[in-house]
Amino acid sequence: MPELSRDGRTLHVQAQGSGDPVLLLHGYLVGSMATWYFTAAPLLARTRRAITYDLRGHGRSSRPALHYRVADHLEDLHAVREWAEAETADLVGHSFGGLIALHEALERPASVRRLVLVETPLPPTSMTGIDEFLSLSPQEMLQSLPGALEAEVRAGGRRAKRFYESITRLVGHTSLIDDLRAETDVPDERLASLSLPTLLIYAHESPCLSTGERLAEVLPDARLLTLEGGHYLPVESPVELARTIADFLDG
């Protein structure tokens, strides 16, 4: 498994294709590089180097007990960018992954060519129903996921068991939820400084559409597109989403 090691931790990373780099970041809890690996990544890999990785705590990256703030995730992103030799890159992020991408673009605008934010809430606590969702048991969380995801995790089977275990570990044994709640907003004045071309992709049934609308208004060079579906667009509409992203990055 391709991996980076740093400070006794590992990050599971993967690159497909060759050319200009695009980094794809997944979302929290139910996400992993699998979110992008079989859909958007190979499509983009036809003309670019598509880099995916598991965020700390997720997939096959290691799971520290503490340090799940955006700043901590940015350290990992920098390590991945260095590994991939992606000094200038396109960034694509789903949900919390989009938040990391947005912060990277704000901090290092010269290093980001284009930005795609899919179903990204800012701040994360502004997402409708987030409090209720985070206080659910792993079983209830599973049941609240859209059909496409829930089908992946047939009740009582091995996948369900592994899902519960990973959610339980993340929620119960790391600071991820506390750190998520502590993430603050980014003021409009700061957002207004982000002049790189940005595509905002949100769902018709999005629980964070208000963020999409706000960003569309405040970011100098941004466009909002809404697709059929809910928060988990990469799972619900993988092909359409992949094509939309590829068209924008190629455009």
């Binding site: 993967q14 079989f38 499509l43």
Partner: protein, 94 residues
């Protein structure tokens, strides 16, 4: 060039699956051509990624496993049987 040996390829793929899963039951379970990744083995999508990585390492450019998977919908990938993967390898190596 010799004809690719289906039985050998099945053995290799089965070994890679067992490595990916890394759990005791995987050592004992029978993995044959009709074994379904989803219904029988219940691989998670992240384990699919790990298997794709190992297939890529083992068979490289000749098979381009990830490109093959990328042409399928996710439910089709999850519904694959080991036999379909073996067929693909045989086809590419022939």
């Amino acid at each position: 060039m010799t004809e690719p040996n289906r039985a050998e390829i099945l053995e290799t793929v089965a070994a890679l699956i067992r490595e990916v899963v890394g759990e005791e039951w995987a050592e004992e379970v029978a993995i044959g051509l009709s074994t379904s990744f989803s219904a029988d083995l219940e691989l998670e999508s992240i384990e699919f990624v790990a298997l794709a990585e190992k297939m890529q390492d083992r068979y490289g450019e000749q098979v381009d496993f990830v490109a093959w998977l990328s042409e399928m919908e996710l439910d089709r990938i999850i519904g694959l049987t080991v036999g379909e993967v073996v067929d693909r390898v045989v086809q590419c190596l022939s």
